[in-house]
């Protein structure tokens, strides 16, 4: 049976249809979830897509984290459910406290929109279980606030627990330790700034995103 993937839509989300398309192509059954609904409809996994939820007012993710759907998503995550935050979704997950650290304005203050090379640091996460360690992936980024930062103590913890799952081979935005993606200690919640859903078709220039999204579908399957 194909996996039910809930893609959350906030006012200002703009990558939800890309995520729907990519997950359908990969054989999953994605469906949209509205941020104001408390019920996430018994999905097997949740994706928070990119965009500018609530206009990024105050801080990216600061208002979205209080949406009714987030309460259900936090419970779902605490019960081991796979949750993926892409770009703005990553920002929402850090604001919600599901992932440590924060995302700041890019060093150099440039909005970055380009393909970058990522290195898989660990396959032990819901986003990388079908990749191999050291694998390089070409995936686009599209952000202004993707500069991951955290305290020294948090960084040490991320490093010693192997929670840094993807790094940039050439740091585009000033992220500490070249971090492009992290997971939580339980490894079921992941956040990344690059957009794997935009690298799932040869026509888009890269199909490397498929490895990550297939891993996530696999993670959703394991959760059932």
């Amino acid at each position: 049976m194909s996996q039910k993937i809930g893609v959350v839509v906030f006012p200002g989300s703009n990558c939800e249809m890309d995520a729907m398309e990519a997950f359908s192509d990969l054989g999953a059954s994605p469906r949209l979830l509205w941020h104001a609904d408390r019920d996430i409809g018994g999905v097997d996994a949740v994706v928070i897509p990119g965009g500018f939820a609530h206009g990024d007012y105050l801080r990216p993710g600061a208002i979205a984290r209080f949406s009714p759907a987030m309460e259900a998503i936090i419970d779902f995550a605490h019960n081991g459910g796979p949750v993926l935050g892409i770009c703005n979704g990553f920002q929402v997950l850090t604001e919600a406290g599901l992932l440590p650290g924060a995302l700041q304005k890019n060093a150099g203050l440039k909005f970055l929109c380009k393909e970058v090379e990522l290195r898989v640091e660990t396959t032990n996460s819901v986003l990388t279980n079908m990749a191999y360690e050291g694998q390089t992936l070409r995936i686009p980024i599209n952000h202004f606030e993707g500069n991951f930062t955290c305290t020294d103590e948090t960084l040490t913890k991320l490093q010693s627990n192997g929670q840094i799952i993807l790094t940039y081979t050439e740091n585009p935005n000033g992220s500490i330790a070249n971090i492009a993606a992290i997971c939580n200690a339980q490894r079921n919640v992941v956040g990344l700034m690059p957009h794997p859903e935009r690298a799932c078709h040869a026509l888009l220039g890269s199909t490397d995103g498929r490895t990550l999204l297939e891993s996530f579908i696999q993670g959703a399957h394991a959760n059932v």
Partner: protein
């Protein structure tokens, strides 16, 4: 009582400030010598009803912790004054 509150949200010490460093470079380019340690924050002003100073301060502090700042990278400087 009604209070005027002003919350200055600023980056914690040690957190890099890309806006601050860009502005700092620009000041030198414009010929303003000796400007250092530029840091950019934001101020949020609002009014709040509370029974007394202590209650007003407690509410604004909680609002800052939960919502107006991201404690991972930011801190707040709070000023509260009775209106009038």
């Amino acid at each position: 009582m009604v209070y005027d509150a002003c919350v200055e949200v600023k980056l914690r010490e040690g957190i890099a400030d890309p806006q601050g460093s860009t502005i700092e470079k620009a000041t030198a380019n414009l010929g303003f010598a000796g400007i250092t340690n530029v840091r950019v924050g934001k101020s949020i002003r609002f009014q709040i009803e509370a029974d007394n100073d202590e209650e007003a301060s407690k509410i604004v502090n909680e609002l800052c912790d939960r919502f107006l700042t991201n404690p991972v990278i930011e801190e707040a400087v709070i000023e509260i004054q009775v209106v009038g």
